[in-house]
Symmetry: C2
Subunit: 339 residues, 2 copies
């Protein structure tokens, strides 16, 4: 029962999670575009397995460490959709590639040369900056040069990836997909086969998943949707809540919960309380949430348990080592967060 949980505790609404899982899976049924969902959001092997059972072709991740955990659990088709550099990680990646089916993103010839120096035919994708202004090569010409460098060095070139960030508009998303498709065309015109073109998040999966030339989608947040991303992802219901306890109360003015920045991210704005219109979270400090009482007639007592809707799931899950899967007020399953 929820009453026995030590707070703060991260809850996962099983009905909402399963509805999101099925909605995404249904989109890909009968389609040539595939889903290789991102692991970085939930960092939970049990959820990755559910995504695979629902039809995903593998798992995308953000770090070498995440890829190592996935490999340890026998997850197939691992894509590290992010760059690595430096001798320590190059060596770690080469070791991982010996024991798992793993493909790495690259955007710089120095890294290709460092990988090639070890004479092991690792699998690579070229990362293309499609507008996020973060990692990735800046042009189709650069993508071609890097693909040639990979092939020339005896490594395996599998294709392209580009992450456009959270969707701003259909036009912006289509412009990002057009840049990827343009890179693909240039490579194919130059005789380089492109097996994979990976793109798209939980806000853009429909646009990206139907865009010509895109072969797979990286969307992952959908299965642990939060209220921040949820505001622009109407297809998916919020899944995460933090259970907290009222530890202090100043009559008619405020109460304090035992949940602060060490268990709940405020990096993208303050979360809201569930089912408490008469109270509003004012501030998160390290260990506390301070809640203003707007409607003093709402009964709140020291020791009461209150649920907070998780606003930024990615950085909140990262603060916990498990999520409690709940349905109708009961814990049905405990999800370890391995990542």
């Amino acid at each position: 029962m929820l009453d026995a949980l030590e707070t703060p505790a991260l809850l996962l609404d099983l009905d909402a999670m399963e509805a999101n899982l099925e909605k995404m899976a249904a989109f890909f049924r009968g389609r040539t575009t595939a889903l290789r969902p991102h692991y970085k959001n939930h960092k939970c092997v049990a959820l990755a397995r559910r995504q695979l059972a629902a039809g995903a072709i593998g798992v995308t991740c953000a770090t070498l460490r995440e890829a190592g955990v996935l490999a340890d659990h026998g997850i197939p088709g691992i894509l590290i959709a992010n760059e690595i550099a430096g001798a320590v990680k190059i060596r770690q990646f080469l070791d991982l590639a010996q024991r798992a089916d793993v493909t790495l993103a690259v955007d710089h010839p120095d890294v290709v040369r460092a990988l090639a120096a070890h004479r092991s035919p690792v699998k690579l994708l070229v990362d293309v900056d499609v507008g996020l202004d973060r990692c990735g090569v800046a042009s189709a010409g650069e993508a071609l040069r890097l693909a040639r460098e990979i092939i020339g060095a005896g490594l395996i070139f599998r294709g392209l990836m580009g992450y456009e960030g959270r969707i701003k508009s259909r036009e912006a998303c289509e412009a990002a997909m057009a840049r990827l498709a343009g890179c693909r065309s240039l490579l194919e015109q130059n005789g380089i086969p492109v097996e994979i073109v990976s793109a798209g998040g939980s806000g853009s999966y429909k646009i990206a998943g139907q865009y010509p030339g895109i072969t797979e989608i990286q969307a992952g947040s959908y299965v642990v949707m939060d209220t921040d991303y949820g505001a622009i992802c109407p297809d998916f219901a919020p899944v995460l809540r933090l259970l907290a306890t009222v530890i202090s109360k100043t009559e008619g003015r405020r109460f304090v919960l035992d949940a602060g920045l060490k268990s709940l991210s405020g990096e993208r704005g303050l979360p809201m309380l569930k089912d408490m219109p008469g109270a509003r979270l004012r501030k998160l400090s390290a260990e506390h949430a301070i809640v203003d009482i707007l409607d003093a007639s709402a009964p709140v007592h020291v020791g009461d348990r209150i649920e907070i809707r998780v606003h930024y799931g990615d950085a909140t899950i990262n603060l916990h080592d498990r999520m409690y899967g709940v349905r109708r007020g009961c814990i049905e399953e405990v999800f370890a967060i391995e990542g």
Copy 2:
């Protein structure tokens, strides 16, 4: 050597840490006021032991879980300077009090009654709100009523605590201390002995530590000083840095580090790079720091290692499981973060 570390890695500057440790210890030598430093900032038993060896009389902490870790390691004189509530934590605290020397803060009669129902003479402090507008009783009269409730219930009343938050001015700090001293006087006038009056942080230790009636100081951040608190704590040098690797670079414009919100808090503002005046951190995303190159003549290469000054140590340490103690570029000691 630092070169062998997997990034992102949290570094602790040993020279700066030891200087801070000694500076704080020196203040308390020969004084009747004592230091019971907070554990919540560093969550590291090895650092707590150094503080005890330097003269601290015990360790203050923020959660029952931290107190449990301290008890497991045989740390004496544990003060939980925070409220708990609810059956789960009440039971956990009573179990802990059986096996460790632990004192708990309370601010509500319901919690006193819940504790008293178990007929175990636990040790309590009354928490007084001295201006932070968070936890704590609102007045000396309330403090007196709660102390009487504790004593009447057969529990052990040890005294008072009040945390004023980060120092705003000498006047604000003295006003907070005056409220605590006023509570103490009222209790003593009513025949209630007050053994402990705990207050003061790393920014206010000198004012609080010399204020009549204050018996001990909770300051803890000083030993792992960051650049945010450091700006108002001129006595202590910044201690924490995050080591990161350049994983992507767009010539002359920007580079990207493998350190984002999952390893470095941005909750109190963006951190700065160490020894790189020609570059400025623009944005932290979940896994990346995006750095603008201001001076294109500064050489930066993919694979380079760069140190970031930790701006908000409390929420950054919380993201790691160890800190690497470094001196002159070498790792001398690895500090486990147990909390």
